[in-house]
């Protein structure tokens, strides 16, 4: 996406909402969705549109975990670290992912393919340990299954997304 494309997309997202500060969060969520993060220009444009301080929007963007100010990976891996998953070895999954992708929870791989997040209970304790990739559940996961799953997503990205 070029800079001007990005700017017109930002404008499109923002102007879909009335000029009212209560829509700030919704507009930022849309930006997160469109770009995988909230660009600095997005915050500037939104603050102008809603006539509120940039600092206020920045505060919100850093407060909510669903919003990110640095680009997130194409695929988001969530490891549940709730009590049940933790006891059933979710941290071993984290170690395995680190071996495969070289990143820790909260980081994004250098090729921009994957981000890892540690999350709290997903409500699927009976299926512990649980790993979510792009919203798809991988249940009762064993460490030796992790590389295969990662590979699937890495290749899927290569076929579909390389030119985009």
């Amino acid at each position: 996406m070029t800079d001007s494309e990005q700017i017109s997309k930002i404008t499109e997202i923002i102007e879909a909402y009335p000029k009212d500060q209560r829509f700030a969060l919704a507009a930022m969520q849309d930006m997160q969705h469109a770009f995988n993060y909230i660009p600095e220009e997005g915050i500037a444009a939104l603050s102008e549109y809603l006539a509120c301080a940039q600092s206020q929007l920045y505060s919100m963007a850093t407060f909510y975990k669903a919003l990110s100010l640095t680009p997130k990976g194409e695929h988001i891996i969530k490891i549940c670290n709730g009590t049940a998953c933790h006891l059933r070895g979710s941290m071993n999954l984290v170690t395995e992912l680190k071996r495969d992708l070289g990143i820790e929870p909260g980081e994004t791989s250098e090729d921009g393919k994957f981000s890892i997040e540690l999350v709290n209970c997903l409500g699927s304790c009976a299926l512990a340990p649980v790993m979510l990739v792009d919203g798809v559940y991988h249940n009762k996961l064993r460490v030796d299954q992790v590389p295969g799953i990662i590979e699937k997503y890495a290749n899927a990205g290569a076929e579909g997304g390389e030119q985009a």
Binding site: I43, A53, Q54, S55, Y58, S59, T62
Partner: protein, 256 residues
């Protein structure tokens, strides 16, 4: 406020009878009657208080029941007895103080308060090195109430702090020092030389009065304050402006 606002009540604070209006905050009534309640996050400049440090807690006895309330934001709604120094309050306040003092061990104001309150810290708590901020948010409130809105609280949980967006020098900051002056723990640092002031990573040039040479603030803050008054030049400080006005009046009315 409700229609009962003007109803006067008599309450006792630490045994002293105080007259107050319904809806007044306990702290304000105590202060008016010369009773000291320690505070951190409360500032006279604002009507809506942060109610965040909880150092100002007091014991409230009403209708035979006792409870602990936050005096800076607790409106008195009926006859009651208030204790600002009871054993229970001392104990609870000491814990609150210890939490804050461990969070911000380098805050100069906090150390003094600890001595004044005569409390000892709780040793098992971990301190944060070089931290001075108790995250009360007064600075943010000051900045946004001015209309500059350059700073805000950033992140959440243990990573929470006060900063400008992206930790970059803010184009909206005017270097007025409102944040630094309002801070109860002197946590906001700035550097001043003969001609410049640096705060929140941005350097400002200082503005001196064209007439008498007193420091008026940064160029930006003077212009910001003058924005709705129309910036006149030469730029003169309040004192000099008054003098000039008086002189003009004298000349105008000389023959009257």
């Amino acid at each position: 406020m409700s229609e009962n606002v003007n109803k006067t009540l008599t309450v006792t604070i630490d045994g002293i009878e105080c007259i107050c209006e319904k809806g007044e905050y306990i702290f304000d009534v105590a202060k008016r009657n010369g009773i000291y309640i320690p505070t951190l996050c409360r500032h006279d400049a604002f009507d809506n208080h942060r109610a965040c440090c909880r150092i100002c807690i007091v014991e409230l006895k009403q209708r035979g029941r006792t409870k602990i309330v936050t005096s800076c934001v607790y409106p008195i709604d009926g006859e009651c007895e208030i204790f600002t120094q009871s054993d229970k309050i001392r104990e609870e306040r000491a814990v609150l103080y210890a939490l804050l003092a461990h969070r911000a061990p380098d805050a100069p104001g906090l150390g003094q308060m600890g001595t004044a309150l005569n409390v000892n810290g709780v040793d098992r708590l971990v301190t944060i090195d070089n931290e001075k901020c108790i995250l009360c948010g007064l600075c943010v409130q000051a900045c946004s109430s001015l209309g500059t809105g350059a700073i805000s609280t950033v992140n959440r949980g243990v990573d929470k702090k006060v900063s400008t967006p992206f930790d970059k020098p803010s184009v909206f900051c005017v270097g007025c020092l409102s944040c630094a002056n309002v801070c109860p723990t002197n946590a906001i640092e700035y550097v001043e030389t003969e001609t410049t002031r640096t705060i929140w990573n941005r350097e400002f040039e200082l503005q001196f009065c064209d007439e008498c040479g007193t420091l008026m603030g940064t160029r930006e803050s003077v212009a910001f304050a003058a924005a709705d008054v129309e910036l006149e030049s030469p730029i003169v400080c309040d004192e000099c402006r008054k003098k000039k006005l008086a002189n003009e009046m004298m000349i105008t009315y000389r023959f009257v």
